[in-house]
């Protein structure tokens, strides 16, 4: 009853206004080519925080809910047509590129939208249960997070299988051909991990831009290699079909949503693990095979990852800060009660509905752009926006880091290894630091 009274109170209508505003902003944010959401929101909030005096904390949170929910649903569109901004998106982008190549990009985006809505509904349904079991889960797993991350790393590396098609009479030739891909994967992971240690210990980014120190790394590892590939490889994308309906059944929706939810929740709960990694593990755990299932489950996974990590922060008394946005809003949030949690769930549902309604027109707009302007030029323009943007926020030091990261980011692209290995940039240093061996490694590398 108290929850209903809270939700139906007209005094809270302003929160819906700010949530709606957040969804609209997220449209613009997700349109910015190849940039990671948390960096963009970080900059955005710096501007917004100037209005902090006139905005109540819950209004700011409503704005953030709108932005993160909207972004998690709408970012699939520019990522599909202009390039992924982070690892969570690049996991999806290769299968999605195949759909685009067949003129079915719109359909794949709508499938991710359905998956995202399924994920949001599951989050809302399970929100009361989180209050019951999350404290227990946190208490059990807290001392064990480092080896859980270690297991994620081990699985990522061990689960990449050889791709070589050499048919030589010589066994060793075939072996080396197969291991070329695996070797590149392992090298990518280690090199990006090394870069992660360097950036965390001695970043070249000026101190005043410290909050953006990871931006050049992500842009270099994920965004620029994708844009370069597009510029080199792709001519015009084929005409995109605007479907009147999509082929789906409830079984597929339930399986996709369930698998995606598991991956997204794992990624939201375990620090540093992204939707891409979570999605891979959940996909294997639930033995996904259908292409539509993968695309839809990815939509769920990504949304649950972004929104779920923010939702966990609002569970009263849990103090579970996961994901960049939770860290960003920490200074403005003093007390979290059941009321804020219930409001979060309500605003999340509202934002998801609104973002889903915007998905089709937003997709049509992006298709219109890529049909009017050659894909080559779209990628060139995106590149011309990204590089100066990195310079503006991180200066020459940032550009230097971005250049090194681009070199590493191109490795999996050139050798068809998993791009997920690039997540070594965060997984390796964070895992080793959490286990308490960070200083030893940094000393060994001469970083301290």
């Amino acid at each position: 009853m108290a929850i209903l009274e809270t939700l139906l109170n007209p005094a809270y209508l302003d929160l819906f206004y700010f949530t709606a505003l957040g969804v609209i902003f997220s449209c613009a944010i997700s349109f910015l080519p190849a940039l990671h959401i948390y960096n963009v929101i970080g900059i955005f909030l710096l501007v917004i925080l100037k209005f902090e005096a006139t905005m109540a904390p819950m209004q700011l949170i409503a704005l953030c809910i709108g932005m993160i929910v909207g972004y998690s649903i709408l970012n699939t569109v520019p990522a599909t047509y202009f390039g992924p901004g982070d690892e969570s998106l690049s996991y999806y982008i290769l299968p999605s590129a195949a759909w685009v190549a067949k003129g079915r990009g719109f359909e794949s985006i709508l499938l991710t939208g359905v998956g995202a809505i399924g994920g949001i509904i599951l989050l809302a349904v399970l929100a009361p249960a989180f209050l019951w079991f999350m404290p227990g889960l946190k208490s059990i797993t807290s001392p064990h997070m480092f080896w859980i991350l270690g297991s994620v790393i081990s699985y990522m590396i061990l689960s990449e299988w050889p791709k070589g098609v050499s048919q030589s009479e010589n066994c060793w030739e075939n072996f080396l051909e197969g291991w070329k891909f695996l070797g590149i994967g392992i090298a990518t992971f280690l090199l990006s991990g090394l870069l992660g240690f360097i950036v965390m210990a001695k970043t070249l980014v000026p101190i005043e831009f410290a909050f953006q120190s990871i931006t050049p790394v992500f842009v270099g590892l994920f965004a620029i290699p994708w844009l370069i590939t597009n510029i080199i490889n792709i001519g015009q994308i084929p005409k995109q079909h605007d479907p009147e309906s999509i082929e789906l059944d409830w079984g597929l929706v339930c399986r996709g949503t369930f698998g995606g939810f598991l991956g997204g929740f794992f990624a939201a709960y375990v620090p540093i693990v992204t939707a891409g990694v979570g999605g891979l593990m959940a996909g294997h755990a639930t033995a996904q095979r259908d292409g539509r299932l993968f695309v839809m489950s990815y939509g769920t996974c990504k949304t649950v990852y972004y929104v779920g990590s923010f939702l966990l922060f609002f569970i009263p008394g849990l103090s579970l800060t996961r994901g960049g946005l939770a860290w960003i809003v920490t200074p403005v949030v003093s007390v979290l009660t059941l009321k804020e949690y219930a409001l979060f769930v309500a605003l999340m549902l509202f934002a998801a509905g609104m973002a889903y309604l915007m998905l089709a027109p937003f997709t049509r707009m992006c298709i219109w752009i890529v049909e009017k302007i050659a894909y080559f030029w779209v990628s060139v323009i995106a590149l011309l926006i990204v590089i100066p943007a990195v310079f503006v926020f991180t200066s020459w030091g940032g550009l230097a880091i971005m250049t090194v990261a681009t070199g590493i980011g191109l490795l999996p692209v050139m050798f068809q290894a998993r791009r997920m290995n690039l997540m070594g940039v965060l997984l390796l240093p964070v895992c080793i630091n959490m286990a308490g061996y960070g200083n030893d490694v940094m000393r060994f590398l001469g970083l301290i």
Binding site: A98, P135, G136, L137, K138, S139, I140, T141, P143, H144, F146, W147, G150, S151, S154, Y155, L158, S159, W161, P162, K163, G164, V165, Q167, E169, C171, W172, N174, F175, G178, W179, L182, R255, M281, H284, A285, T286, A287, Q288, R289, G291, A435, G436, Y437
Partner: protein
């Protein structure tokens, strides 16, 4: 089973050792990961090593510019004839890559009713195995071939094998009782790597090393197993759980290699790539891990448990999900049975069984084979 299933089952097994859980929480040890690594190790050894060093008696590399199904079928028949005379014969079939995303497909089947090797040249396909219409061979004499062999043959998977993308499959033909020829799919898989013998050997070697290198940890009086012995035991049980899980499928393992020569058949309870059985093992492992981490937490008298009531925990988080999985599993089986009956009536192929030679070649996670 999926690689992830083996991996997490290995971790679950490791979590049953209280000392390992204490080492993880108190000494920042990665010892629990060892269970996962050795859980997936048998497939790693097969698909990253053994596969490359297996020598076949015959290799089939069809010429895309001079396609002839008869040439392929004859070569397979030669391998069968070799088995008739010498007891064993192997053949490796290769794919035909035409472009970066273009392949020519063909299928191989063994018609046990007529003792014929059947080969059909299929259309061109992309890497997603989507066929390109109109690329089929026009000449039926080149596109289809049947070659009769003397012996009768039998196989675990009575299905067509499609050879299209990446690397092709390998078959071994083994002469059995009454002169019948057994067709063994991927003869290099699930042999020495999936044996108790190898698990034991690695455990003994690691045990020798840890016996001399690993000192006794703090509070040894709390544990019944010395610390050095934990490592080989986790390795042994991690690899054993892989073998046990694989035995629930159709292909089986060679448990006592080199003392036994061939793979035994699996129990055939479930197919390796089926979603629900895989998830059942994964979920059981997650529940075991959480329960073990909680009950073996350090200083239980001063740290409140995460699971306050184990009965409630197992009811809500295990019994209920288990019931739901069982419902969908048997519902799916029933539907599959109906499809099969319908297919029989209309002469349609059966719906694909994941453990079959046909579907595994499309599998991205090799460990599912």
């Amino acid at each position: 089973m999926k690689g992830f299933t083996h991996f997490i089952s290995g971790i679950a097994v490791a979590s049953f050792f209280p000392q390992a859980v204490h080492m993880a929480s108190q000494e920042q040890s990665f010892i629990l990961c060892l269970g996962g690594i050795f859980g997936i190790m048998p497939d790693t050894l097969d698909f990253k090593f053994a596969k490359y060093f297996h020598k076949s008696d015959f290799e089939i590399k069809p010429d895309p510019n001079n396609l002839d199904a008869m040439v392929i079928a004859e070569t397979v028949a030669k391998a069968i004839r070799k088995a008739e005379q010498e007891g064993r014969g192997t053949v490796q079939l290769h794919t035909m890559q035409l472009g970066s995303n273009l392949w020519r497909s063909y299928t191989l089947a063994f018609d046990s009713a007529t003792s014929e090797v059947v080969v059909d040249i299929g259309p061109e396909v992309d890497t997603g195995q989507v066929p390109f219409e109109g690329t089929e061979l026009k000449d039926p004499t080149k596109a289809h071939a049947r070659v009769k062999v003397e012996s009768q043959f039998f196989q675990q998977f009575d299905k067509k094998s499609q050879i299209a993308i990446m690397s092709g499959p390998c078959f071994e033909f083994v002469k059995r009782g009454e002169g019948k020829i057994e067709i063994v799919f991927l003869p290099w898989h699930r042999t020495w790597s999936h044996s108790f013998t190898l698990g034991m050997l690695i455990a003994v070697l690691v045990g020798l090393f840890t016996f001399f290198m690993v000192p006794e940890g703090p509070n040894p009086e709390l544990y019944s197993i010395p610390r050095w012995m934990l490592y080989p035991l986790i390795i042994l049980f991690g690899s054993m759980v892989h073998i046990i899980e694989d035995s629930t499928g159709f292909m089986g393992n060679n448990l006592f290699y080199p003392f036994t020569k061939d793979r035994t058949n699996g129990l055939g309870l479930m197919s390796a790539a089926e979603a629900i059985p895989n998830f059942l093992f994964v979920w059981t492992s997650i529940i075991c891990i959480l329960y073990n981490l909680d009950r073996f937490r350090w200083a239980p008298e001063s740290t409140p448990p995460g699971i306050e009531n184990p009965t409630t925990f197992f009811f809500w988080f295990y019994a209920i999900p288990l019931a739901v999985m069982a419902y969908f599993f048997f519902k799916g089986k029933k539907a599959k049975g109906k499809d099969k009956d319908k297919g029989k009536g209309k002469g349609k192929p059966y719906s694909s069984d994941f453990d079959s030679a046909t579907s595994v070649e499309r599998e991205t996670d090799a460990s599912v084979i």
